[in-house]
């Protein structure tokens, strides 16, 4: 014990001493030199290309399935780019960082990627809070940033809407922002009414940035269809673990459908509370944990009949001619024994994959990836690029629209938003299977109502 102490003490001492003496000498002159040295010190320089490797920094909560799926999908995109000769003749390298879903951690890794690794492109960010936490820094540094996870419209309207010039290097290629998602969701509500005669809707939303549109504009959008009414609304604190009161309230209000917008860990509890108590309404909306291909196991099958909206439709429906090749490539590489979940890319995977390939195409058109000197050319090229991705068609809104640099929605002939599909868990022998139930052109099965209703 005492011996150990002495050892640590000695090594600490010598360590500190060495640094101490060296820097002590330097310190005297340092003050005078501060200004002159500022340009050429250590590794703390300013970023920017300068090498012949095209580096992509991917940001996501890679401890979560969503982030892991996205990271792997980015790897597939990079492999594809390499096979096709790189980007603008440069070799391609992927640097993936875990944001831990926290703004402060994201800030740290982003500054490392941009300031130290000199990435040429940033892709990712799942949590809206994370996106907003790093956006000012990224705007400052001009490095192109493609948002592929978070859908909060304020990210665009509060930044690009106010000062386009400052934020022009930041675009979103998926999913459509949640204002548009809300509109898509209202279309889906009418569809449910056509199908099953559901009239009363309840909206339960996480108390978080990304649900803002569903709390604020979705009720009015639903009630635009005169057959429908919103009979109950509430928001749930993120640490809620007892959902009985919320579901009781919805049942008391005679809701036929509860649309819940939930991204945190309680989603599985929410689902099993609903299913085991056989609450008399259908469970629709968006459940981020519910998008996991492994959700059936995580909920012991209680997720049967619940739906969630997700871009990419869980990889079960052929949205474009690129969908299935991508999903198959993913499954070949990452699904099977000993592989961690998710066994499908999940929505952020689709978007990260598409985002990287989209940028590569835009860069070819711009003829450059040097954002330090040719940012305008790159941004123009991105705004003019039309690209068919695995999750759908990608083209961006221009500077003068409501959502500059944001993904355009696609609409079918009735004007209904069609690139925000809905999937439902169906029974498949002893297990469960994800089916796409909306919109009709992509559906693989018809929406079913829980048997207890």
């Amino acid at each position: 014990m005492a011996n150990e102490d002495n050892n640590t003490l000695e090594s600490d001492r010598t360590g500190n001493d060495a640094v101490g003496r060296r820097t002590f000498l330097g310190a005297a002159s340092a003050g005078a030199l501060t200004t002159t040295l500022a340009g050429c010190m250590g590794g703390v320089g300013s970023g920017g290309g300068g090498d012949d490797v095209f580096k992509i920094g991917h940001l996501g909560p890679t401890e979560l399935q969503m982030g892991r799926g996205a990271e792997r999908s980015a790897e597939l995109a990079v492999a594809e780019l390499k096979d096709n000769g790189g980007v603008q003749g440069q070799d391609v390298e992927l640097l993936s960082e875990d944001t831990g879903g926290s703004p402060s951690e994201a800030e740290r890794v982003t500054q490392n990627l941009v300031g130290s690794d000199n990435v040429d492109l940033l892709v990712g960010t799942f949590v809206s809070e994370v996106t907003q936490g790093i956006i000012d820094y990224v705007a400052e540094r001009d490095v192109p940033f493609i948002i592929t996870g978070s859908a909060d419209p304020a990210t665009i309207t509060e930044n690009h809407g106010q000062d386009y010039e400052q934020y022009k290097n930041i675009v979103r290629t998926g999913p459509i922002n949640s204002d548009l998602q809300a509109e898509g969701m209202a279309g889906y509500a009418s569809h449910l009414n056509d199908l099953h005669g559901f009239e009363n809707f309840s909206i339960l939303a996480d108390d978080a940035a990304w649900t803002g549109s569903f709390r604020d504009i979705l009720p009015d959008l639903i009630e635009e269809d005169s057959d429908l009414s919103v009979v109950h609304e509430d928001r749930m604190a993120l640490d809620t673990d007892n959902f009985n009161p919320f579901l009781d309230d919805a049942a008391d209000a005679d809701a036929d459908v509860v649309m819940r917008f939930i991204a945190h860990g309680g989603a599985a509890t929410f689902t099993s509370t609903w299913a085991q108590n056989e609450y008399p309404f259908a469970l629709e909306g968006i459940s981020v944990p519910g998008m996991s291909p492994e959700f059936w196991g995580a909920t012991n099958g209680t997720c049967l009949y619940e739906t969630t909206s997700q871009s990419g439709a869980g990889g079960v429906s052929e949205l474009t001619d690129k969908t299935m090749p991508f999903v198959e490539a993913y499954e070949e590489e990452f699904t099977g024994d000993g592989q961690d979940p998710p066994s499908k890319p999940m929505y952020m995977g689709f978007n990260s994959y598409d985002g990287i390939l989209f940028y590569a195409k835009a860069a070819e058109e711009a003829g450059t990836t040097d954002y330090n000197s040719d940012l305008d050319a790159i941004v123009d090229a991105m705004l003019n690029t039309e690209f068919t991705g695995a999750a759908g068609e990608i083209s961006l809104y221009g500077e003068d629209s409501d959502y500059p640099n944001d993904l355009k929605e696609s609409r079918n002939e009735d004007g209904i938003i069609s690139n925000f599909p809905v999937t439902q868990w169906h029974e498949d022998g002893d297990g469960g299977v994800v089916e796409c139930v909306y919109p009709e052109q992509d559906a693989t099965a018809e929406h079913v109502v829980p048997e207890w209703i």
Binding site: N244, D249, A268, T299, N300
Partner: protein, 277 residues
């Protein structure tokens, strides 16, 4: 209903404090161990009931290991002890993430099914009833044990006065070990039910721990009776705040009551003066 489970948690927490003066902030982590043991057991196709027993045993063992392997050596310094135990909790969180991932999972209920109470307008799952019954059996058994058996009485005696108990020939080490085992078993029971009724995730230790804190402070540190009563008070307050203020205000009311009680009766409803020995 779930108040009985809260009471179990609080009793374990308060007993450990009573006999050793240790604030075991890893108590929530023990609950987590219970839930994850059950999860691991049931996903390995062990029947739920056996899995439940296994979870209780493993948690009790973990609790004892925590005492014998760590707390025993540092319990003389209360600050170090509660820092060390909270660090243990945080460490376990990370280990659980590494082993099970950070996404929450749902436990297979020990029994499934549900009944609808027309009069109250809510639904109750059988597993909720089971949680209630099992918790009360456990509390009853403990009550019998500490008041009617010599072994148990020595625990009670120690928590009243360590020195007095020692003078009357109580083996302090044994008493402490037993207490940690009991507290661990209770945490294991609570873990399975909390994990089933709420969520089983690497963060699940914090809110039961906070609840145990609140209950124990209101009931008085070291008092078993106080814990049960306070647990029901808190349970009632939670329901009441949902009724009065709406579901998003769960928990705020109980915190307010807590502060009020602390200010009026700093030792809790049934607490005793904290003696420096």
């Amino acid at each position: 209903m779930i108040s009985a489970v809260y009471a179990l948690i609080a009793i374990g927490f308060t007993m450990i404090f009573g006999v050793g003066g240790v604030l075991n902030l890893a108590h929530g982590a023990l609950i987590m161990i219970g839930a994850f043991t059950y999860l691991a057991a049931t996903s390995a196709a062990i029947p739920p009931f056996a899995g439940f027993l296994l979870a209780v045993v493993v948690t009790a063992a973990a609790s004892y290991a925590l005492y014998a392997g760590l707390v025993k050596y540092i319990e003389d310094n209360i600050v170090i002890t509660f820092l060390a135990t909270v660090v243990v909790a945080l460490l376990l969180t990370e280990l659980v993430i590494i082993q099970f991932g950070s996404a929450p999972s749902q436990l297979l209920p020990v029994i499934s099914g549900t009944i609808y109470l027309e009069a109250v307008g809510t639904r109750i799952r059988y597993v909720q009833l089971l949680a209630f019954v099992v918790s009360w059996i456990a509390i009853g058994a403990l009550w019998y044990y500490v008041t009617k058996t010599d072994e148990g009485r020595s625990i009670l005696a120690t928590s009243m006065s360590t020195r007095g108990a020692e003078l009357t020939g109580v083996d302090l080490q044994k008493v402490k070990s037993r207490t940690w085992l009991i507290a661990g078993a209770f945490a294991g029971i609570a873990g399975v039910f909390i994990g089933t009724l709420q969520s089983t995730s690497p963060q699940m230790w914090l809110s039961p721990l906070a609840l145990a804190f609140i209950i124990v402070v209101i009931g008085g540190i070291g008092s078993i009776k106080g814990s049960v009563i306070a647990a029901y008070l808190i349970g009632y307050l939670e329901t009441a705040s949902v009724e009065i203020l709406g579901p998003s205000f769960q928990g705020v009311l109980s915190l307010v009551v807590l502060v009020a009680i602390l200010l009026l009766k700093p030792n809790g409803l049934f607490g005793r003066e904290l003696v420096h020995e």
